[in-house]
Symmetry: C2
Subunit: 310 residues, 2 copies
Amino acid sequence: MPEIIGVDLGGTKILARLVDPVTGKSEGRVKKPTPKSGPSDVLDKIVTVVDDLDPDRRAESVGIGVPGLVTESGVVTLCPNINGWDTPVDVAGILSERLGRTVAVGNDVNVGALAEHRVGAGQGFKDMATVFVGTGVGGGLVLNNRLVAGERGMAGEIGHLTTHPGGRQCGCGQFGHMEAYAGRAGLEAEARRRHAAGDKNELVRLAGDGRIKSSFIAKAIEAEDKVTLELIEEAVQALASAIGSMATLLDLPLVVLGGGVVDRLGQDFLDRISASEYFGGFGNHVCELRLAKRLDDAGVVGAAILAADS
Amino acid sequence: MPEIIGVDLGGTKILARLVDPVTGKSEGRVKKPTPKSGPSDVLDKIVTVVDDLDPDRRAESVGIGVPGLVTESGVVTLCPNINGWDTPVDVAGILSERLGRTVAVGNDVNVGALAEHRVGAGQGFKDMATVFVGTGVGGGLVLNNRLVAGERGMAGEIGHLTTHPGGRQCGCGQFGHMEAYAGRAGLEAEARRRHAAGDKNELVRLAGDGRIKSSFIAKAIEAEDKVTLELIEEAVQALASAIGSMATLLDLPLVVLGGGVVDRLGQDFLDRISASEYFGGFGNHVCELRLAKRLDDAGVVGAAILAADS
């Protein structure tokens, strides 16, 4: 098989595998903790991980998924989850020289979209998008079978579409963004605000001082907690509005949804989104919503596909 | 120069010119009325026009802009402004055989976007979009220097993004779409509704029973007519919200605006859009709004560029 090395650079670990980008099958596995001592040590560690995985140099290309903003040429301009990443680093340039292999670098959510497109729920679709609903809401766009990252690497940031003008403040500082309503963190902040204001609710009761996890959201829905049902309805509206806008603008036949919140709430949650009057748009009745396949090692597989496409 | 035939198929006329797709310069000009007797006669007429323009067969490729929905393979599925176009017609397939030349077919607004991208206000930008505010609001997307039309040819339909959930009815039948607020027809309908309800306004006074033209809108703004100022503020909000969503989703550095309403209201209108809190988004401060260049024969030039890109 034509092998490519996929690397998933995370905030806590670096994982690398040898991947067949056509089937998505992987072999080998090297995993190391992500250094906390800055990008230079992180790059050193990636070199070690790649050499350990493939000492015989079977693979000529390396794809790397990074939890940050990546320009089209592979410069990581922002990487808040990795310690000391204060200035842009030309990861593709530096690593291709040090590894003596071709290196492609992409945002982790974007390469996840490529994995869903090629070997997941989006197989066979030329155009599609993914939306991952977790702490925040991220997304990736695949048009004409290629990832659309944008020049600054910021394409697909569907969480920052304004769905409630003048509404709740988003983590990014602006107001009324979809993520402030549909992301777990935005939902948690609002649940705690209402709880403190006297609108007691199951979410805060279940979580106590801890994080309001997706499983607590599912439990509170089951218990028909009033505040939870209201917040979920707002999340549905926000997702419907933003996904509807995206589907209209890009004429998408498919949007694949995943992430902790979606995994918990399942198909019923998707059905509510597509049935919402906020889904609106023009011809959106043909835009299907599907659950992501939750592929094993989607990060490394997607990164390898990115390298294969480059 | 490498010449390509650009054809602009309109509801009333068919215009063809020989175009250099790199400079946008044109020569020759054949113009005929669009037959009212159905697509078959329209195609016959296009053949005549092309042969009249280029009897010596200097050009091997023909690009055609059509006021309707065009699939990626050049099938025109919907063309409401041309009489008798009741079923999908494989314009590219039929005409390439009859003309013995390569034929590319695109939506007229989309090929207009290509013209602005290559020889208009968007020169030098790899990614950009156009928004044309006329009777309705249409748009075109250029990503990575290529037109994004969508499989069904419906990409770029920014007028049908939901900016006012549950709001005014759009021409397409759904509710709260941007076009219902920013398009001339939506604005006219609302001005007449308010006038009839007792909220007398300059727009209806100036237009009488005729169409509320863009020039009347400009006059009513100058007269500081209360209803007009309210309607324009709503149009600004609707455009800001939809363009902001698009710019965020696609990481766009530039959006070019044109069409009757924009031509009349000018740069001040654009400044209000980009200053609006509804522009929102994530990093949209770097998305520039520019007036379209209002190129001569943008339709034929864009159609030729489409053919050159194919």
